[in-house]
């Protein structure tokens, strides 16, 4: 009897820390004894770099460009602790259809039944910034991933992107698409940052999986081409990622989020903006700021 593979998609605004977080989750899951594949769905194809000593691997689409037929095993590379790394790749910026590229790559591996063959426990898709079109919604659609996690900081643009993603999930939820597991709050250092994300998840009926602080250990590890889990396993930051991984292991039921309407979101952001300005100009006593 085949076991159920847990398939997870990580989305979020460009540059918010998706690949860093995903790689650390993969590493933590792998260290905990699970068989993991990380699937980069981004034409930049840098998702798995920190699992492979900083090197780029040949992508599914590069391989497809050169040969008519691609064997899945030609595009799967082992990284840290035996994690299977795959990069979908894509066309050069400004030509072709990157969205179709993602569809092609994902279905290529799916067709060849490699997930089952490799006896995987986890497949984690690290998907490009905003869901610009149908192609990038593929991991959410068609029941490829079951759980979606969104990486966001407390910046409004990142929250807008998260809210947009919620809209996408909401739309596909009735058609058997993936549901939302929760939000991974990244780069949360200032006290109000946590409050903003908390308020956002409360309004959109979801949860925070973990608060990940911004830390130089991440930068240092990245410079060595490693995840924090690999480079600095005993650090506090590594503990946070391990805790996040454990919560993902325990997570079973994802839900349909309640995205805010654009006007509602704008108003929400404006109110927070006013409070932040008040905080900056000292109108609110620093002691009270923690409650914002």
């Amino acid at each position: 009897m085949a076991k159920k593979i847990k398939q997870i998609a990580i989305y979020g605004k460009g540059g918010i820390g998706k690949s860093t977080t995903t790689s650390n989750i993969s590493a933590a899951l792998s260290v905990a004894g699970y068989k993991v594949m990380q699937f980069g769905c981004d034409p930049k194809s840098d998702s798995t770099n920190t699992l492979r000593g900083g090197e780029y691997i040949p992508t599914v689409l590069d391989t497809l460009r050169d040969k008519q037929i691609v064997r899945a095993h030609d595009v799967i590379f082992e990284g840290f602790n035996g994690i299977y790394c795959v990069e979908a790749g894509g066309p050069a910026p400004g030509v072709g259809c990157a969205g179709r590229g993602i569809i092609t790559s994902v279905s290529l591996l799916k067709q060849q039944k490699v997930f089952e063959e490799l006896d995987l426990d986890y497949v984690i898709y690290d998907v490009l910034g905003d869901v610009v079109c149908g192609g990038f919604a593929v991991p959410v659609r068609e029941g490829i991933a079951e759980h979606v996690f969104t990486v966001t900081s407390a910046d409004f643009m990142a929250i807008y992107a998260a809210n947009n993603l919620f809209k996408g999930i909401h739309k596909y939820s009735t058609e058997g698409g993936a549901l939302l597991g929760g939000v991974i709050a990244n780069s949360i250092n200032a006290p109000y940052a946590k409050d903003i994300v908390d308020d956002f998840v409360a309004r959109t009926h979801t949860q925070v999986m973990e608060y990940v602080p911004r830390s130089v250990s991440v930068t240092q590890a990245e410079l060595q081409g490693k995840t924090t889990i690999e480079a600095d396993p005993d650090s506090n930051q590594a503990k946070v990622y391990k805790s996040l991984a454990q919560k993902i292991i325990n997570h079973t039921e994802s839900k349909v989020p309640a995205p805010m309407e654009t006007s509602e979101l704008r108003q929400w952001a404006a109110e927070w903006g006013k409070q932040l300005v008040a905080l900056e100009s000292g109108l609110i006593a620093p002691a009270a700021a923690g409650n914002l």
Binding site: L61, L64, R65, G90, P91, A92, V95, G96, C97, A98, R100, G101, T104
Partner: protein, 446 residues
Amino acid sequence: MSKVIERPRYVCALGGAIGTIQSLPRAIPILHSSSGCGGNLAGALSGASGYNGGNYCGGQALPSSNVSERDIVFGGEGRLQEQIENTLKVMDGDLYFVVTGCMVEMIGDNVHAVTKRFKGEKLPVLAAETVSFKGNSYYGYELVLETLFRDFVEPAPVKDAGTVNLWGVVPMQDVFWKGNLGVLKSLLKKLGYETNTFFGQGETLENLKNSGKASLNIVVSDAYGIEAAKVFEEVHGVPYITVPLPIGDHGTSRFLRTVGKALGVDEIKVEKLIQEERKAYYPYLERLADVYNDLDFQRYATVVGDPNYTQAVTRFLSDDIGWLPELVVITDILGEEQKERVLASFGEYESGLRPEIVFDEDASSVVGYINRHWPQNQGQKYHKGFAPGVIIGSVMERDTAEQFKVPLLPVTYPISNRVVLNRAYVGYSGGLTLAEDVLSLVVAHR
């Protein structure tokens, strides 16, 4: 969600473009699309246009980049370049014309960037983005003409008062286009003008290239080719007129007067020509006068199809042979402005007819309009519904005709139950041909 059109009477923009290019002498279409487009469209075009399969490099023999998934993901420009190079090598033409399918338009392939690389070669390679999610056959026709006028027709600062261009009769969509263009050309010859019809018998690419020197563009349509005429005027400074497609004496005499006036031809000369044509025309119809009355050839008629034909057929039936074409269903998608122009072409009947005109794209709606216009017999002695009636439309009216047990003459696209070569319905001679065809239906059972 947009409205669904049941059984449309046209193909996509790419199809319209292919039909147009393959009707140009020595022009070679190059499709930048997946392989399905060319195959499907060749079948749809030929089977629906009286089996006009296209000649050399037409029909099923179309060069195509046949893009596959790889080209979609990485962009298909490289594949297109290769296809153009190969086509130039192996296909013998004087003009190559790249047209695009939906998929390459979705991913934004830049076909102009590719064809630019062939600038300065011996033979011209043109391109039009025939975006099929933006329009149908007629849009494709316009785009091809616009491109030809911008990029192929040479500037001609000095105009030739004796030359005109004529279009608006859409190859393939007007199943009788070739014959029709020939008739119009010879009519204008009788007025003293050389006419470029681009697609008709005996036309050459050379004529097209030099068409910038014409003194007038005559668009024989209130719906098609007008955008292209605007481009021609903008680029080459040649004014245009639109004039309805003429069938029979009443239509054609109006046509000659309109064109004559626009060209500044002496009115006496125009009237003289009309008299001469009538002298040849009416004796034929007069031969039928006795039998027309004795056997009662008069019929009600429902006219279904594109704006070009419906107005022409209606005027012909009403004023030339005395029928009662009381209902007209126009089946093309038209803008408000187009509709207004088209409606205006359904007036001033000699017979005093005031036809009911409806715009509806669906084939199956025709039944409803007929029943509404001619209510069925409800016990009254003289109310017999649409009888005795005839439908002039396309092959899509077959079910409707069977339902009302009336004959059908297909003259508008699609026509799959006739083979059409050089038959023409326009002009005086075409009027006689149409008279033969419709009246033969009335005696077909004898």
